[in-house]
Symmetry: C2
């Protein structure tokens, strides 16, 4: 008995006619797999329209009720897609997250799946039904509807695949995972596979195809995740465990994070408590600090730089004002014209010289970087925005991405 | 501790700004009542739009999934109204039918409330919260979402009032119950009260303000039902038990049913089995027959007339074709230009002469009727459509409606 989970995104379900095409795709799959579970997102702009209504209702809508509101979007697409399948003669059943046994914990609008009671879904699968589940939602221990935050339908899909021990197919509006965002680099190659670690790192560094959380669940439970287009049959990308015997490439992908805020504090009297104070203030303000760099002390003074998301500009500004009052001779420079360019590859673990090659590329192309930071499988640089395209082209070409 | 149930219809919730007005009405009520439960319909045209989508999806959408689809409409309005109330500083909570403990039995799209587990609602009421419940829906013994059919939100409201032993206020787009539909008779009087029986009879006979079922539940559990406008503070109509000591009026209201189909079968060979056969065929075709009249046998032949809803035209036609084949000399006449005019009044029980007065009115105004039928508290006539306005005016004037 072969089983598959398929997840269809909102743009592939935005109209009844598009849903019909998806129904045909599901029917084709039914010829291959014995058991099929479909996870759906809300139709097209539904979620945004509902958020719009809630924002019209009040400035900061109650999160509990926002979850009840947003969960309707996926319930609508699940019931309509099921009607279409039933109408074509296939036995199918639509389930809300609650009915499908998705139990959650944690806060509204960003709940985590705590458990899936698979018995209800299995009962229907064993009767030969195609099971259509409203993604992105579950029910907490109080019986309240909760949603799973960004990428919640992918999370639902991967969690069901983990629970059923099967493959997870994510059908979306792109043809798979690219080494570089094709909008940035026209010649970007579609990857046949990517490792869980690389995908997590790329999601974390700004690639938008898959949310980090779904990939983490997939990694933990060793769920093969296949990402492909809902519109055609082109081969997509398989996210799986890194295969060190086969894979030779050092760099799998390049990603760019726009709107980085870089702050430089010059002439801080050097002491570990002074430096600690800066990051304590930022943490208290809820700012997530990314890259940190510090110069060597000179005449008892240091320069300290850090980056954060430009979204946190206001919180950063307030924290820095506190510092400025304490150390009147500190010079604070906030730069909003910064991007972060990262290269990611599990191969870096075993292949040295990636950092050296990157420095050489930057030097050859007269690209100045401001900071550099490394993780086990990535290297990131902060650059002035003006270097963005030039750097992407140079790095992508050099590594044949 | 005083408690009230208030139900708001779709037209009063069709936009966020209208919802804000309703929120203010609820807040005013909170000054009078200790505990408030609000039942909401779907916003404006939401239900019709969802039905439209389902019809686009397929010709006869699966009723199970249609219920899952339609139930989202009330969940949307409940969550948005709750957000607005919370934003103005009032503690409120939105509940789906299932969360509010509405258990149902029977078929999808027309389920009946079998029980209300009031504990969850009571828990929140006891904490001082305004409880906002998605009307029109419940959950069956399998955990599936069900809807209650036409007037389902009213049914929800009256059922909750019955369960909590309190008054039920239905806020709608009309100012109350009128003796005659004001669109038919401009001078129609708004009733301060109407008895359950009269209201049931009038709903049954085509008055559209309240569905018969909600009034039946109200009658069974002696729930005072107050029907008023959601847009202004004009006094509405109280539906309650008939008070024979106080009430003198013989006729409370007049109602008209349009699109009546009248069928006359002439020259049927007279035998009870022949007549029975006609109605057996109609029953098997699912046709609900209303008024039946039969002439006295003459030369072994009778004429038989009956009315049904014009919606059943196709089914009636098929049944009559079977009859025509059996009795080749039977002449069948289907007339679609018929209306039914009814007068309703609990007072008829104790005051005689209503029928006589009606015949006199018709005679004085040269109005010909085709059939007449009586129930304990109503008299109905079928008339040619052309007499409609003349008959309404004459009867309404004569009985001072």
């Amino acid at each position: 008995m072969t089983t598959v989970i398929q997840k269809y995104g909102g743009s592939s379900l935005e109209s009844i006619s598009k849903m019909r095409a998806i129904a045909n795709k599901i029917i084709e799959s039914k010829k291959i797999y014995d058991k099929i579970v479909i996870i759906v997102s809300a139709m097209g702009d539904t979620t945004n329209n509902l958020i719009g209504l809630s924002n019209e209702a009040c400035k900061s809508p109650s999160k509990r009720e926002l979850d009840m509101l947003l969960a309707t979007g996926e319930q609508i697409s699940a019931s309509l897609l099921t009607m279409i399948l039933k109408d074509t003669g296939y036995d199918a059943i639509a389930l809300t997250g609650q009915q499908a046994g998705v139990h959650t914990k944690g806060i509204f609008c960003n709940a985590k799946i705590s458990d899936i009671d698979i018995s209800f879904v299995n009962k229907h699968l064993n009767k030969g039904k195609i099971v259509i589940i409203a993604g992105f939602q579950g029910v907490n221990e109080k019986g309240e509807t909760t949603t799973l935050g960004r990428g919640g339908s992918d999370t639902t899909a991967v969690a069901f695949a983990a629970r059923l021990g099967c493959k997870c197919e994510i059908y979306t509006d792109v043809e798979g995972i690219y080494s570089v965002d094709p909008r940035l680099y026209r010649k970007a190659k579609k990857l046949n596979f990517i490792s869980y670690e690389e995908m997590k790192e790329m999601s974390h560094l700004g690639a938008k195809v898959m949310e980090c959380r779904s990939v983490e669940i997939g990694h933990s439970y060793q769920v093969p995740i296949y990402v492909a287009s809902s519109l055609n049959d082109a081969t997509g990308t398989l996210i799986k465990e890194w295969d060190k015997k086969v894979e030779k490439r050092s760099i799998t992908g390049l990603s760019v994070t726009d709107d980085v805020l870089m702050v430089t504090l010059k002439n801080i009297p050097y002491s570990s408590s002074n430096v600690a104070e800066v990051f304590t203030l930022l943490a208290e303000a809820g700012v997530s600090v990314d890259i940190i760099s510090q110069t060597l002390p000179r005449a008892g003074l240091v320069n300290l730089s850090f980056t954060a998301s430009a979204q946190d500009y206001k919180s950063v500004k307030e924290a820095m004002e506190v510092i400025a009052q304490k150390h009147s001779n500190v010079e604070i420079k906030k730069d909003n014209e910064i991007i972060k360019l990262s290269v990611v590859g599990t191969g870096m673990r075993t292949q040295s010289g990636v950092a050296a090659k990157m420095f050489r590329i930057f030097a050859d192309n007269q690209i100045e970087f401001q900071q550099v930071t490394t993780s086990e499988i990535s290297i990131s640089y902060t650059l002035d925005k003006t270097y963005k395209q030039k750097a992407v082209d140079a790095v992508a070409t050099a590594f044949n991405l």
